[in-house]
């Protein structure tokens, strides 16, 4: 007798399964969970904590907040950050001071672990929400984060 109950149960469970997919088929117009990516570029917005790339914000006077303490360079597990610095004489006080020349960021090496941003004492670097990082040549992935001629914001070191 189990032969016939097997057939009955089998057909029943198969029909239940088909009802699930059939329901989604009928509501497919509004139910699509995929996005049509390049078309929705304008409306596509990442969360504000999204880790896309490390950026160094500059204010309107082309001034950043990096003192060149190199804590991020030490914290980075992959050698992603290289800070090229120099000692320059401050004109006001006349003392020699560490000034960054170039803040080099190798995006190709970065694992987005966030340790550099976590460790930065002056909040000089933060996460950018850009996620379209593909380039044709990997040399483009090596970036200099401070803009040419930028200076340290006054008051950061105090």
């Amino acid at each position: 007798m189990s032969y016939f109950s097997d057939i009955y149960n089998g057909v029943k469970t198969l029909l239940i399964g088909m009802s699930v997919t059939g329901k989604y088929f009928l509501t497919s117009r509004k139910g699509a969970i995929t996005q049509q990516y390049p078309d929705n570029r304008e409306t596509l917005k990442m969360f504000d904590r999204f880790r896309g790339e490390v950026i160094m914000p500059h204010d309107e006077n082309n001034e950043h907040r990096c003192t060149g303490c190199q804590k991020c360079e030490i914290a980075c597990p992959n050698g992603t950050i290289e800070i090229i610095w120099d000692r320059k004489i401050n004109e006001e006080t006349g003392k020699k001071k560490k000034v960054i020349d170039k803040f080099v960021y190798h995006l190709g090496l970065c694992t987005m672990c966030g340790l550099c941003i976590d460790v930065c004492p002056t909040d000089a670097i933060e996460w950018g929400q850009n996620f379209e990082n593909s380039v044709f040549d990997r040399t483009y992935l090596t970036r200099v984060l401070n803009t040419p001629g930028s200076k340290l914001q006054p008051g950061v070191e105090d």
């Binding site: 399964g17 997919t21 989604y24 088929f25 497919s28 139910g31 699509a32 969970i33 995929t34």
Partner: protein, 354 residues
């Protein structure tokens, strides 16, 4: 030249009026071949597109919608891409059989298409053993699969081909027997006569309970016959990679791929013809406009194709031994009993006719 070929009666008569009989037959054959090649390509490409779109809707996706209106030309673009691709192959492959295999598959599909009654007039090859011819031709395709799997010198392909062989030999029985059940009512193997009988009600109504059982068995074994999920043993991408066509690329792969979809169409078309009255409209509502038959036929066939797609995108795959268990322990005995029931019903005149 006594082959019962005709595209439509008007063209047939016109050709025979301007030419000697022999030449007219040959010209007609060429025309028919060209027309059917066209149908073959259009249907194949359309079904590929439909499958992708339908599967996307089942899976909460959008599906191809870029090429042409709503992506309708997507499969054409894919076919062009496949045409331009390099034909690769394994070094130690049996070159002759390896190249021959796709043609077996595609020619058997094309031949089966010739006996499908699209409408009363548009029915190229109306032979008196129509159903028998269809069953015979549809099992030739498996030779192509076996050859392709064996000759490409790949173990995965070989396993896939052997599974396909086992599967097709088994399920051929069920297809034949379930169609035989219906032939008990019609008393003829000729497809045009089968359709003619259904003017008194579609066979699934005429034969009621045993006809419904036969229809279910036919759809199950038809799905198995076309190597589609849940019976896609021969391809089984999570087990065998791509199965028998692992080593095929470019247009040779496309032949296998197109043939699979055409076979699906053929199975659905047979089911529509035998169970749902082919081009007949329900209750004869459009009997005065015979050319509307093509829409009824395609409508019925595509609904059955949709049913097969629904199966594919819902069910898990059977294992190869369960596949055989299903056939030999369930479908075949039920089928044999079903034939006896149908014979009794026909004998006692219990069929429902209008």
């Amino acid at each position: 030249m006594n082959i019962p070929l005709n595209i439509t009666k008007t063209i047939h008569d016109w050709l025979f009026s301007i030419m000697p009989e022999g030449a007219a037959s040959i010209v007609e054959m060429f025309i028919i071949a060209l027309v059917y090649l066209g149908i073959f390509t259009v249907i194949g490409l359309f079904l590929v597109f439909l499958e992708r779109r339908v599967s996307a809707w089942f899976q909460l996706r959008i599906g191809p919608n870029r090429v042409g209106y709503q992506g309708i030309l997507q499969s054409l673009a894919d076919a062009l891409k496949l045409l331009s691709k390099e034909l690769t192959g394994t070094v130690k492959a049996d070159k002759f059989l390896y190249n021959l295999a796709p043609y077996f598959v595609i020619i058997s599909a094309l031949m089966a298409l010739a006996v499908i009654p699209f409408t009363k007039e548009f029915h190229a090859f109306d032979i008196n053993i129509g159903i028998f011819f269809l069953i015979a031709i549809s099992s030739i395709g498996v030779i192509g699969i076996l050859l392709g799997g064996w000759s490409s010198n790949n173990k995965f392909a070989l396993i896939g081909a052997m599974r396909s062989g086992v599967q097709t030999i088994s399920y051929e029985l069920s297809i034949g027997l379930s169609l035989l059940t219906m032939i008990l009512i019609t008393g003829s193997l000729q497809l045009s006569e089968i359709v003619e009988v259904q003017k008194n009600g579609w066979l699934i109504v005429q034969g009621h309970i045993p006809a419904i059982i036969a229809f279910m068995i036919f759809m199950i074994s038809g799905t198995a016959e076309t190597n589609r999920a849940p019976f896609d043993m021969a391809e089984a991408e999570s087990e065998l990679g791509a199965g028998f066509h692992t080593e095929y690329s470019g247009m040779k792969f496309a032949y296998f791929f197109l043939a699979e979809f055409i076979n699906m169409f053929i199975i659905a078309a047979i089911a529509a013809t035998v169970f749902f009255g082919a081009w007949l409209s329900p209750f004869g509502i459009t009997e005065s406009l015979p050319w509307l038959g093509i829409f009824w036929f395609l409508g019925k066939t595509l609904s059955l194709v949709f049913l097969m797609m629904w199966f594919r995108w819902t069910f898990p795959r059977l294992r190869v031994d369960q596949l055989l268990t299903l056939e030999w322990k369930y479908l075949l005995p039920i089928n044999l009993v079903n034939i006896i029931i149908m014979a009794l019903i026909v004998w006692l005149n219990l069929t429902i006719t209008f």
